[in-house]
């Protein structure tokens, strides 16, 4: 019996951004893919999302950049990356030869920057889609993240939409009261899909030094600790919007991934878990397949959103 795990991340887009399975690696946690080439059978992945890419190269933040917390970690990498020009020159040609779609995660400090990055990536072989990270601080609005405001978020999406013919995924921040409103706003502005969640804003304090542990005081919390929050948000957003949702947050095992799919996610991204187990995504793909077989199911679609149906009694 063959089981189909094909999913489309952009059903309204030409080409549709079809993935052979719904398991992707999350931005910032799998580098440019190349770092893992020796350990992981990359061609088996649904897709790879590369490190957040900015218009110009960035050196990122001072040390310390990471702190471990209970079942999680805080990071403040500060979007260190080679910049979109180097990416087009050095990374995209490698990806073009791979048998796995690579999605470029992009980040700007102004609406204009987002548009320019998207423009630079237009028509570049090896780039299958864009994931627009709107958790970055909007320098124009006093460093408030774009993603906490419906209008700012929509403006970013419009700018990217206007500069790109690629499928556009918009990555939402969880640090908001009503994530559904933001999701609705970005879909209305032309997002093909949304991905959530990015990291939760957190802090650790070094009690010996009597100061915040990370160089930038706060950092982004990721890992299994945040899974329940992510799952709740995915459930809420999937219920509200008519576009694919990509679930992210603390996914380590096939069971975790299936929870997100059942909550309504069309696909998932594996983040921090890849640090712990570079083959986490590959093992999850195998585990989902086994689960579907065990349940006598023929298509991944049979589990997507099933937990939306009803209340437990």
């Amino acid at each position: 019996m063959t089981v189909s795990t094909l999913v489309s991340l952009a059903p309204k887009h030409d080409g549709g951004l079809m993935l052979k399975n719904p398991v992707m690696t999350a931005s910032g946690t799998f580098g440019y893919g190349t770092e893992y080439a020796k350990l992981v059978a990359l061609e088996r992945l649904g897709a790879i999302v590369c490190k957040g890419t900015t218009l110009r190269p960035r050196e990122g933040n001072p040390q310390p950049r990471i702190a471990e917390t209970a079942s999680g970690m805080l990071n403040t990498i500060g979007l260190q990356n080679i910049g979109v020009t180097a990416l087009v020159r050095e990374k995209a040609p490698i990806w073009a030869k791979w048998d796995v779609p690579v999605i470029v995660n992009i980040a700007g400090e102004t609406v204009d920057e987002y548009g320019k990055i998207a423009e630079t990536l237009e028509g570049v072989p090896g780039v299958a889609g864009l994931e627009v990270n709107i958790s970055c601080p909007n320098v124009a609005a006093g460093r408030i993240p774009f993603g906490v405001d419906c209008d700012a978020a929509a403006a970013v999406v419009t700018a990217v939409r206007d500069s790109s013919s690629l499928p556009i995924i918009v990555k939402l921040t969880p640090n908001v009261t009503h994530i559904v409103e933001i999701a609705e706003a970005v879909v209305a502005a032309g997002a093909d899909a949304v991905s959530l969640i990015n990291t939760l804003l957190g802090m650790a304090i070094d009690v010996r030094a009597k100061r915040p542990y990370l160089s930038t005081l706060t950092g982004g919390l990721s890992g299994p600790a945040i899974k329940p929050i992510a799952l709740r948000m995915v459930y809420e957003v999937a219920k509200a919007i008519d576009a694919p949702v990509i679930g992210i947050g603390g996914i380590c095992t096939a069971e975790d991934a299936i929870e997100f799919l059942m909550a309504g996610a069309t696909a998932v991204q594996v983040g921090t878990a890849s640090f712990v187990n570079p083959n986490a995504a590959i093992e999850i793909i195998g585990g989902i397949d086994s689960f579907l077989r065990e349940q006598g199911m023929k298509d991944i679609g049979e589990i997507i959103g099933v937990a939306q149906m009803g209340r437990r009694t």
Binding site: Y36, G60, F275
Partner: protein, 279 residues
Amino acid sequence: MIQGTVGVVARAEVLPNVFLMHLRTPEIAKRAHPGQFIHLACDDASDPLLRRPLSVHRIGRAGVAGAKAGIYSPSDRRESSSVDLWRPAEGEVSVLFARIGKGTTALARSNPGDALSAIGPLGNGFSFDPKARNLLLVAGGLGIAPLVALADEAVEREMVVTLLAGARTESGILPAAALPPEIEYVVCTEDGSHGRQGVVTGAVAEFVDWADQIFVCGPRPMVEALIALRISPTKSAQVALEEHMACGIGACLGCIVQTRRGPQRVCRDGPVFRLGDLR
């Protein structure tokens, strides 16, 4: 670089709160170079979440002085007492680590027969200057861990090795039996309880002219003291650094260190850097 399961063959507390563990892992033993490290999972649950990097302390491989003869089957469990405490057998590597937080505490609880998940060998490792003959190794505290593998290989290559090892007190000093017998072992303790009194960097001046090449591993202040000595670049001084790590593989950019060549990843571009490149 492999990801796989390694078997704990033996574990012993060789100094107060310092553990030596022999791990059966023919694939890593075959590939490992001194200065490289292994990224070990401490627990199957998610707290502690991240792996912990530990240097390859000694390598059990034919042609490496640290290796004892003998081949063991994968199912091999040896009791600590029947193990050559200091030398891993062929197909094994040893790690030497301080129990400081929850990761190393969990690791220190592993028993012979347990399986651990490992990735390795990772990082670049030390490199010998082809012209070097007299090697000075400078260790602060547990910084001695990777330098013993280096000493083993240097002895194998018939180089002349002096190892300066510093610690707060004698309880932090490995016995000479823990090292290849061919090397000169100079001990410094801050309280004078063993060897010379003072910090290890104080003793470096005495050996620096003699040395053709210098290898360093220890806490950051010690490394900074060595940078301040402005050792001639002709000595090709190399230092193994530590930074907090998530991936260990070059992907997360958590372990960046600033160098004269720009930001570098300790896990992949290092952990060994030229002393002269550090700022």
